[in-house]
């Protein structure tokens, strides 16, 4: 007897087998190399015992052939997570919520080394699912698995109503199972309970485009409808980041504002008080002030008019004139203040002070030309004109603050809307805001 390798005593090598359906004679292909428990005849829809060499009939179901063609045809191979899988089985299952039936599809994928994997598809939303080896722990409205907590999304009675291909379990049409989903986007933890047996599986959301790429499918990817239970939010990560960014920028804005404020010259470069009486002096009401210096780089000039108007008004035509260049800034300001009592209490309108900021005034020698106007019947009005150089314009900082805030608010709103859309499909829908239902 030689000491070489013994004659092949291993059991026969499994290959994809072709057999015939005992009911209608159509060809049956078994792709799962002995793993399948049941196989469905694509022509007459008899469910057959895949382990029986004669393919004994287990169940028959009536359906129009080709009624629900799988989006990934049986026998297609694709690469998921670096491993090649072949689609061997397909089923359609449904739940009923408030009288409405919701269908989804499940695909059984097979690899002879790595085993079985599943894909589910609902309205264009796909999930990549594997059976759990570790035990999850169920809590109140949540479940933990491998240290992660998943929130309860839905519990429903799932019914199988259409099957094709091979399955590694005893599949039957009209079989009911209690399906419970817990979500932690992009993952989902699901339990299926039939009689007393519970099977847990972990799903991860996968985009239709990635499925089409993995399986090299022709045509365009169907657009997903609505928000799916474990669909990752396109914005939620950004919400935290954008508010952190906003805070950072707001602090910087404050620092910039403080910087300009501290370096501004708070004292007036020109200040004078005048008395105006309409009609006097007779003739020309306008006059010019003494010349004052505006120093430094080209910056703004703030002119403040304070008048002791009491239920009266005064109007001042100002011109800030550069003595040397002849350049002038021309503007009119009204100071009016009215107040009184009525049935609601005291009221007031206007102010005794007015400020205007003249932009981009270069350094130089300047004077003001002032032409006041007032109510001719009114007693004399005293007013003080104050000129300051290089003041911080709070309006800019206010605008900047809003500009930084608005995107953060928009992003947060979009994230909230997305999550509301997600949970509106669950057993725990959010409270409706407003009167109308979308």
């Amino acid at each position: 007897m030689s000491t070489g390798t013994p004659p092949l005593s291993n059991p026969p090598k499994p290959q994809a087998r072709a057999l015939n359906c005992p009911q209608c004679g159509a060809a049956i292909v078994l792709r799962s190399l002995g793993h399948a428990e049941t196989v469905v005849c694509a022509s007459c829809h008899a469910i057959l015992d895949a382990k029986d060499p004669n393919l004994r009939i287990l169940q028959k179901f009536q359906v129009i052939t080709g009624e629900d063609p799988p989006l990934i045809p049986l026998g297609t191979r694709g690469k998921l997570r670096g491993t090649d899988y072949e689609v061997i089985g397909f089923q359609r299952r449904s739940i009923k919520v408030e009288g409405i039936r919701y269908d989804w599809h499940e695909y059984v994928l097979f690899n002879p080394y790595k085993g079985t994997r599943y894909l589910t598809e609902y309205c264009g939303h796909w999930n990549d699912i594997t059976v759990c080896k570790e035990l999850p722990t169920v809590q109140f409205a949540a479940a933990t698995y491998l240290g992660e907590t998943f929130k309860h999304f839905q519990t429903a009675d799932a019914n199988t109503n259409y099957v094709l291909g091979e399955f590694p379990w005893q599949v039957r049409v009209d079989e009911h199972a209690t399906a419970t989903d817990y979500v932690k986007p992009p993952r989902m933890l699901s339990s299926e309970k039939i009689a007393n047996e519970v099977t847990w599986s972990l799903g991860e959301y996968i985009y239709g485009a990635d499925i089409w790429k993995a399986f090299n499918l022709p045509g365009t990817v169907p657009e997903p409808v609505g928000v799916y239970e474990n669909q990752p939010s396109p914005v939620s990560d950004n919400v935290k980041a954008i508010w952190a960014g906003f805070l950072g920028f707001a602090v910087l804005l404050l620092i910039v504002m403080a910087g300009f404020d501290l370096t501004s010259n708070k004292s007036a470069v020109f200040e004078h008080t005048y008395i105006f009486q309409s009609g006097e002096p007779k003739g020309e009401a306008s006059f010019v002030t003494d010349i004052f210096d505006l120093e430094g780089r080209t910056s703004n000039v703030e002119l403040t008019t304070s008048a002791n108007v009491d239920n009266a008004w005064i109007y001042l035509n100002y011109a800030l004139i550069n003595q040397d260049t002849g350049q002038a800034w021309d503007f009119g300001r009204e100071v009016s203040y009215y107040h009184g009592y009525d049935s609601d209490g005291s009221w007031s309108e206007g102010s005794t002070k007015d400020s205007v900021v003249v932009p981009s005034v270069p350094a130089g020698h300047y004077y003001l030309r002032i032409e006041p106007e007032g109510d001719p019947k009114h007693p004399p009005v005293g007013y003080t004109v104050e000129v300051k150089r290089g003041v911080p314009v709070l309006g800019f900082f206010g605008i900047a603050f809003l500009a930084l805030l608005i995107p953060a608010i928009v992003i947060t709103w979009r994230s909230i809307s997305f999550e509301r859309a997600r949970w509106s499909e669950s057993d725990h829908p959010p409270i409706q805001i407003g009167n109308s239902e979308e």
Partner: protein, 210 residues
């Protein structure tokens, strides 16, 4: 490692034991089940043809578990109502014997462990919890199975068994336990689930088209 050699009492073929503690082996030529006695090998039965089964593992497949390499030296094949599974007997490079189970391509490695207070087949129920080595296990599946065949070297005598009950216990961490009720005394195996890629298996079976 000593590799004692003998001859098959049935057909005379040379039998080499890869593991010195093997109690039983199957002659690869005539399929006789041979049990080691003090003196020589004794034929106790014959293995029926094993059914076509699709485990990618075969005898002499090599792999790595927790940095220790191992080689597959034997197997027990079981069948139950939803299919079948293989318990591959592996020899670690430190001489320890362990089991690599392949159930629908779900892999687990476990070691025979002695423990007291084990339930009997009639006492065990789904949902019961046991603690061994400070790890809590929950009975998840109870499977009445039947022995279908053996191959290669085994650490005990195992042949012509009929129905056997197994209880699978799982944990929250991936640790795995099996209670084997084939004998009078229940046997406990403790281990964990392993991923195919992590085992770095070599010399696997080939599949046409894959």
């Amino acid at each position: 490692m000593t590799q004692p050699a003998s001859n098959c009492p049935n057909c005379g073929a040379k039998i080499v034991f890869q593991w010195s503690s093997s109690v039983q082996t199957v002659c690869p030529y005539c399929k006789s089940i041979l049990v080691r006695t003090d003196v020589d090998l004794e034929k106790v039965g014959k293995v029926a043809d094993l059914p076509p089964d699709s485990s990618p593992i075969q005898l002499n497949t090599e792999g790595i578990y927790r940095s220790k390499s191992f080689v597959v030296i034997g197997r027990i094949l079981y069948e139950y109502d939803q299919g079948g599974w293989n318990e591959w007997h592996i020899m670690m490079n430190d001489g320890k014997s362990a089991w690599l189970s392949d159930a629908q391509n779900e892999y687990a490695i476990s070691f025979a462990t002695t423990a007291t207070g084990l339930p009997t087949a009639s006492q065990v129920l789904i949902g019961q919890q046991y603690t061994w080595n400070k790890q809590r296990y929950t009975v998840s599946v109870i499977t009445p199975a039947h022995y279908r065949g053996v191959e290669g070297e085994l650490p005990f005598q195992y042949w012509d068994k009929t129905d056997v009950t197994f209880a699978d216990l799982r944990s929250e961490t991936g640790k795995f336990a099996t209670l084997d009720f084939s004998d009078e005394q229940p046997a406990l195996y403790l281990g964990e689930f392993v991923e195919f890629d992590d085992l770095k298996l070599k010399n696997l079976r080939s599949f046409e088209g894959w």
